[in-house]
């Protein structure tokens, strides 16, 4: 379970990037955060990993305050970051092996890695290829595989579909749904309203550091989510 309690971040230059944000992502739930560039999505995510310290409030991971016990908190979240480049002199398997070990999975075999990579849609011939030969989408898939293999109760994804082709994106949605069924709490920031609509259990719209709208699946399916979003962006509450 992921919880933001009055989460506030003011950067050193004085910019208020997050202003008392509150939300929670429960087990077996996909929570999508929408918002324009600079709305504060990545800032929120960074606070859950304690990459930055909050100015006020708490980011809780299974009840653990990320700024008080960052290691414990991080042990409970898997992370897919926006366009990670990974180690380009390593093969896909070497990359996933390293991050799996960092994630605490020390007893995995080659076949376990292959299985996960296959699952995210990487072709067999890519498994032992060096990362520098990978396309952006292939890297993104490997990033997702790295998150899956960690097998943490919570997953946070920052624009995970940005480099994927439509087929891969669709497959990715299936993977997320499966993870959700396994009982993971999933927090995803995205610009892709269409995808959000298909899989999200709840959707939030963030604007200038505040959550300006939050709706459950039933609620947003009744209306046109895209229209709501654009209205919010123009400052008109729906």
């Amino acid at each position: 379970m992921l919880e933001a309690k009055d989460l506030t971040k003011r950067y050193e230059d004085g910019l208020l990037a997050l202003d008392h944000v509150n939300f929670e992502v429960r087990e077996g739930e996909i929570y999508c955060m929408l918002g324009a560039n600079g709305a504060g999505k990545t800032t929120t995510i960074n606070l859950f990993f304690n990459f930055i310290d909050p100015t006020e409030g708490q980011a809780l991971v299974n009840g653990i305050d990320a700024s008080k016990d960052p290691l414990e908190a991080k042990g409970n979240i898997a992370f897919v970051s926006e366009n990670v480049m990974l180690y380009h002199n390593f093969t896909a398997r070497q990359n996933i092996d390293y991050f799996a070990k960092l994630g605490g999975k020390t007893d995995l075999q080659k076949d376990d890695y292959y299985a996960v990579m296959r699952k995210v849609g990487l072709q067999d011939k890519a498994f032992e290829a060096k990362l520098k030969t990978f396309s952006k989408g292939m890297r993104q898939k490997l990033g997702i595989a790295i998150a899956i293999i960690k097998d943490a109760p919570n997953i946070i994804l920052d624009e995970p579909t940005s480099g994927l082709d439509p087929k891969a994106a669709a497959e990715f949605m299936d993977i997320l749904t499966e993870l959700k069924k396994q009982g993971k709490a999933i927090l995803m920031s995205t610009h892709d309203i269409f995808r959000a609509k298909t899989i999200a259990d709840r959707v939030a719209i963030m604007k200038e550091g505040r959550i300006v709208m939050e709706r459950t699946r039933e609620e947003f399916l009744k209306d046109d989510l895209e229209k709501i979003y654009l209205n919010y962006m123009q400052g008109i509450a729906a």
Binding site: E72, K74, F79, S81, V84, M85, F99
Partner: protein
């Protein structure tokens, strides 16, 4: 966890193209340097032995001590076997000296004098390769060690796990240092084996100990640049700026500081020029001449001239004594001036050396030269040995010459076994080590400070 990070770091380094390139280049350069050094040493050794033989033959062919006194003793400085690796100042300073009863001996006839072509490029010795090329590699290995991982997003992804930052930085440091060692250690070992295969190169246990210490210096030197690279890499947000800063510091350390120290020491501890010394000497001479005139006048006032043998006797005695007194004064003054000049020159030299020690490249130069006995100290020790041999030689020859006075007839053929020879003991390992110790300490301190700086910087590094 630490193990995982170290392994990954080593793997990442040795699979990178820059590693392969570095390894090949280091191997070629190190072997080339050792090969050239050995070639150099062998020809030096040959020249040395033929100079000794020639001198011996010349001595034997002399029929009297008088002739040997005229010819003088020819002294040739033996080449240092560790000059194969650290050529030091050997090529630039004189190798031969003649000790005779007349002049102060000095070493002349350097390798550069006899063959200026060598001076064009200077020595390509192991010290130079380590100093310039390997330090550059250390920088190229580390400039993006941290900032590069940030740029690629892998730092963020790594630290999204239950991994303490201190382990990450320790693992990175250990792993990349180990992988940097490979291109140094392997060619160095091959070079040592090669060195051993040459028939004229004899390495004693003492030499091996010195080689070990020299290698320690190489390691420390590379570790300085290595930690410097890590440090800058943990304080920058772009790898391009990290590289730029590091190259700048590299140039400052290797070229600017050593030259700058010499220039700066000239301003801070000026040494009078030869002209200034001479004019001081002239001024004193003038003063003495005035004293002489004054003294003579006083003498004549107190002892009015008489045309008696007693007076003449007295005047003569007084004149001789007075003359001697004045000469002694002049000599004393000249010696004093000379001593002051030398003291100032030494102070300036010392200041230059100490100032330049803030650069690890100077520390490496001094330390390895001390250990290989190819530096300034060993040269001066040799020169001093020659200088202290001179009175021994002079006394012996003068004794032999006076023995013959009055015997008349043909002087006997000299027995060369009687001739005292110059006794020079190379600096002991212990002394060399003590001499090199400050440089060792300087580098160790730099490493500690830089590593502590890296550590603290990384704990607070903005990894986003």
């Amino acid at each position: 966890m630490l193990r995982t990070i170290i392994n990954k770091e080593i793997l990442e380094n040795i699979t990178s193209p820059k590693f392969v390139f570095t390894f090949l280049l280091c191997t070629i350069l190190i072997l080339l340097a050792v090969y050239a050094g050995v070639g150099n040493y062998r020809s030096e050794l040959k020249e040395y032995h033929s100079a000794l033989a020639l001198n011996e033959k010349n001595l034997e062919s002399q029929t009297s001590w008088g002739l040997i006194a005229g010819m003088g003793m020819k002294i040739t400085k033996p080449p240092q076997v560790l000059g194969c690796m650290i050529s030091g100042i050997q090529d630039a300073v004189g190798r031969n000296a003649t000790v005779n009863i007349a002049f102060d001996p000095s070493l002349v006839d350097s390798r550069y004098d006899s063959n200026p072509v060598f001076a064009i490029f200077g020595p390509l010795d192991l010290a130079l390769i380590v100093k310039i090329v390997l330090s550059l590699f250390a920088i190229l290995f580390t400039y993006d060690a941290i900032v590069g991982e940030k740029e690629r997003g892998t730092l963020k992804l790594s630290l999204a796990n239950r991994v303490p930052r201190d382990q990450v930085i320790l693992g990175k440091a250990i792993g990349s240092f180990v992988s940097l060692l490979v291109p140094l250690v392997i060619p160095f070992l091959i070079g040592l084996i090669m060195l051993n295969l040459f028939p004229d190169v004899h390495l004693s246990g003492d030499d091996w100990a010195r080689i070990g210490l020299i290698f320690l210096f190489f390691l420390l030197y590379l570790f300085v640049f290595f930690t410097l690279g890590l440090f800058v890499s943990a304080r920058t947000n772009r790898s391009s700026s990290s590289l730029f800063i590091l190259l700048f510091v590299w140039v400052v350390f290797i070229f600017v500081v050593p030259k700058g120290a010499v220039v700066l020491s000239k301003y801070m501890r000026p040494v009078p020029s030869v002209h200034e010394i001479n004019s001081e000497k002239d001024a004193y001479l003038q003063q003495i001449q005035n004293e002489a005139i004054e003294g003579r006048r006083t003498f004549f006032q107190e002892n009015p001239q008489e045309d008696t043998p007693e007076w003449r006797q007295k005047a003569q005695e007084w004149g001789a004594a007075f003359q001697q007194e004045l000469t002694a004064k002049i000599d004393a003054k000249n010696a004093e001036l000379e001593e002051a000049y030398q003291a100032k020159r030494r102070a300036q030299q010392l200041l230059a050396l100490n100032l330049s020690r803030i650069s690890p490249s100077s520390a490496l130069t001094f330390g390895t030269q001390s250990l290989s006995k190819t530096g300034i100290q060993e040269h001066e020790r040799f020169l001093n040995a020659i200088k202290s041999y001179k009175p021994i030689f002079t006394k012996f020859i003068n004794g032999k010459l006076t023995e013959n006075i009055g015997t008349g007839g043909q002087p006997p053929k000299p027995d060369l076994d009687e001739l005292p020879r110059m006794d020079f003991k190379p600096m002991s390992l212990n002394d060399s080590f003590m001499l090199a110790l400050p440089d060792l300490v300087v580098m160790a301190l730099m490493i500690i400070v830089l590593f502590a700086g890296t550590f603290v910087s990384f704990l607070r590094y903005d990894i986003r």
